[in-house]
């Protein structure tokens, strides 16, 4: 067991929000493939069908997506959380983190209070989706709103609250600080980065939503920098996400300061990426004479 920000993870690799997190069964499959925890897709106050397709395409060194936060609303989603909580093999307890979103503090609280009944291990506040008007990054780039929403949710729930941050700001440390002031138990960095791809043959931007968020290998150096900066700025744990597809990537993120990592797009190549990353982290620890992940969290900061 591996404890991060009040959540007991089976290991430090966690499924990122919005990826294979629509159904309980899908998340159970990810857990069977080695994930120490899963974050559900982001669920909001009312049903959303999402943007028109294409909603995700593969690029040379990453992906771009604009799903548009499709979700059946919090009223429908409890059953999926329950399924993944209860469906695990006995003795195997991968954590279930419920990602939620709303347009303001009140909506966040409504969603959180209802879903808490289904016993997720923590909430992750999506204050970072780059392509949902009035939600996500639209709110998450304003420190005051981040603090207010975090505080509002913290005040109303009894499980840990993680806050997921957008890299589309001048100073992510400032936003992290706001989350911390609001009482966040951890910050999660990063969500996708605003981008656009145009098909030059037709002239059309490729996504249904025209622009979207970048993920995958191409964003890793940006994520590492954000995690590094947050580690210097906040005292709560930082969870690293963005471009991790193998153990080396995960270790780099941990050295930068991540207490755990999330993996999203890499399931494109193989769902078993979690298993592979965990094994690789173990090997690295053994080869370098460390006895636990904790010993290397933020190690790069000490080398000067």
């Amino acid at each position: 067991m591996y404890s991060v920000a009040g959540v007991e993870l089976k290991n430090p690799t966690v499924l990122a929000a919005g990826v294979l997190g629509t159904t309980g069964a899908s998340m159970l499959r990810v857990i069977e493939n080695g994930a120490g925890g899963v974050v559900t897709k982001s669920v909001g106050p009312s049903p959303v069908f999402g943007h028109a397709n294409p909603s995700m395409v593969a690029l040379e060194c990453g992906y771009i997506n604009a799903m548009g936060l499709p979700n059946p609303s919090y009223l429908e989603f409890g059953a999926e959380i329950k399924k993944v909580k209860n469906g695990q093999k006995i003795g195997e307890n991968s954590a279930v983190i419920s990602s939620i979103f709303g347009g303001n503090a009140k909506e966040f609280v409504t969603v959180a209070k209802h879903l808490e009944k289904f016993k997720p291990d923590a909430f992750e506040l999506n204050l970072s989706c780059p392509h949902a008007e009035g939600y996500g990054a639209a709110i998450g780039s304003n420190p005051c709103q981040v603090e207010e929403i975090t505080k509002a949710v913290k005040d109303e729930v009894n499980i840990p609250v993680w806050v997921k941050l957008t890299p589309n700001v001048s100073d992510i440390g400032k936003i992290g600080k706001a989350a911390e002031s609001g009482g966040a138990d951890a910050v999660v960095a990063i969500n996708t980065i605003k981008g656009m791809v145009i098909d030059i043959k037709s002239g059309w931007p490729v996504l249904g939503n025209r622009s979207g968020g970048l993920s995958g290998p191409m964003i890793k150096p940006i994520a590492v920098k954000c995690v590094y900066d947050l580690f210097e700025t906040v005292s709560i744990p930082v969870i690293g996400v963005g471009g991790i597809s193998n153990a080396e990537d995960a270790i780099e993120m941990i050295l930068a300061g991540a207490a755990a990592v999330q993996i999203g797009s890499a399931v494109y190549d193989e769902i078993s990426v979690f298993e592979k990353v965990n094994r690789g982290i173990e090997d690295y620890l053994n080869e370098n004479g460390y006895s636990s992940v904790e010993e290397i969290i933020g190690l790069s900061h000490k080398l000067k």
């Binding site: 897709k41 593969a58 190549d269």
Partner: protein, 273 residues
């Protein structure tokens, strides 16, 4: 399973390719249509699908019914827009995607069960069987004579049973009526595609006759990404993705799943059939 579920190399760019329509033709009298592109799919396998992007409208999954073509019926916005396109117009296509049908050997005896537009991904399988001299029996169903597609394609490669709901062609009734009569022990493989309610009944019959282990079903779910990441198309309880682990599944992998019971809409909400 020997099949290659993911055709794409790691890290390879895969955005929709611009495809010009070089020919459109009616596939059924009622207006199901086949459109052909100026570019072919790369190594399409029977059962593969592609994502067709009607720009400004939507991108939808369609079976690869020809090396460079798709066959569809109008059911809503995207298919209606596609239906209006003319020779010279362009769409974006990506794929082929997904797990295809297992190819039969030439000495095998196969049964194809196709309902309505579900015949689309089965057409290339029939073509393969024809070239390969596999012995084929097809049960092809539709609502009326006017809705039938690919009759010739199935006919030329073996025995063809036709059923229509209203009896305008072939036997009046459903594909299942024929299926019930057939001796399934004669077939090495059974391939099925059609409306889920039809496939559910086919499944039940094959199961009852002890033939489920030789079946493969091509199923549909709502696709968003189409490439196995978003999770929109996952089925209960296996959690398998229809877009990447499917759309073709061996019958035994569909046991005790949501198959035949419910699916999900674009929001992820359950929709009972």
């Amino acid at each position: 399973m020997a099949c290659d579920c993911s055709k794409k190399e790691k890290g390879k760019k895969d955005i929709p390719k611009n495809a010009k329509i070089i020919k459109t033709e009616n596939a059924s009298i009622s207006g199901k249509k086949t459109i052909y592109f100026d570019i072919s799919f790369e190594n399409p396998m029977p059962g593969n699908f592609c994502m067709v992007w009607i720009r400004g409208i939507d991108e939808i999954p369609l079976g690869c019914s020809y090396e460079n073509g798709v066959t569809f019926q109008v059911v809503g916005d995207a298919t209606a827009a596609l239906d209006k396109l003319k020779t010279g117009d362009t769409v974006g296509i990506r794929g082929p995607y997904g797990r295809p049908f297992t190819l039969p050997d030439s000495n095998e005896n196969i049964l194809i069960v196709a309902g309505g537009i579900g015949a689309a991904p089965l057409g290339p399988l029939a073509d393969f069987a024809f070239e390969n001299e596999t012995h084929v029996t097809t049960v092809l169903g539709a609502r009326t004579e006017n809705d039938l597609i690919f009759e010739d394609r199935f006919d030329r490669c073996g025995k063809l049973y036709i059923t229509t709901d209203d009896g305008t062609k072939g036997e009046k009734g459903f594909v299942t009526d024929v299926l019930k009569r057939l001796n399934l022990a004669e077939y090495d493989r059974i391939y099925v595609c059609g409306p889920e309610i039809m496939m559910k009944n086919v499944f039940a019959i094959c199961d009852a006759k002890g033939a489920i282990d030789k079946t493969e079903f091509s199923i549909e779910r709502y696709f968003k990404c189409g490439v196995g990441v978003c999770g929109a198309c996952c089925i209960d309880e296996s959690g398998l993705r229809v877009c990447k682990d499917g759309p073709v599944f061996p019958g035994n992998m569909l046991k005790s799943t949501e198959f035949g019971k419910y699916g999900r809409d674009a929001s992820g909400k359950k929709i009972t059939f």
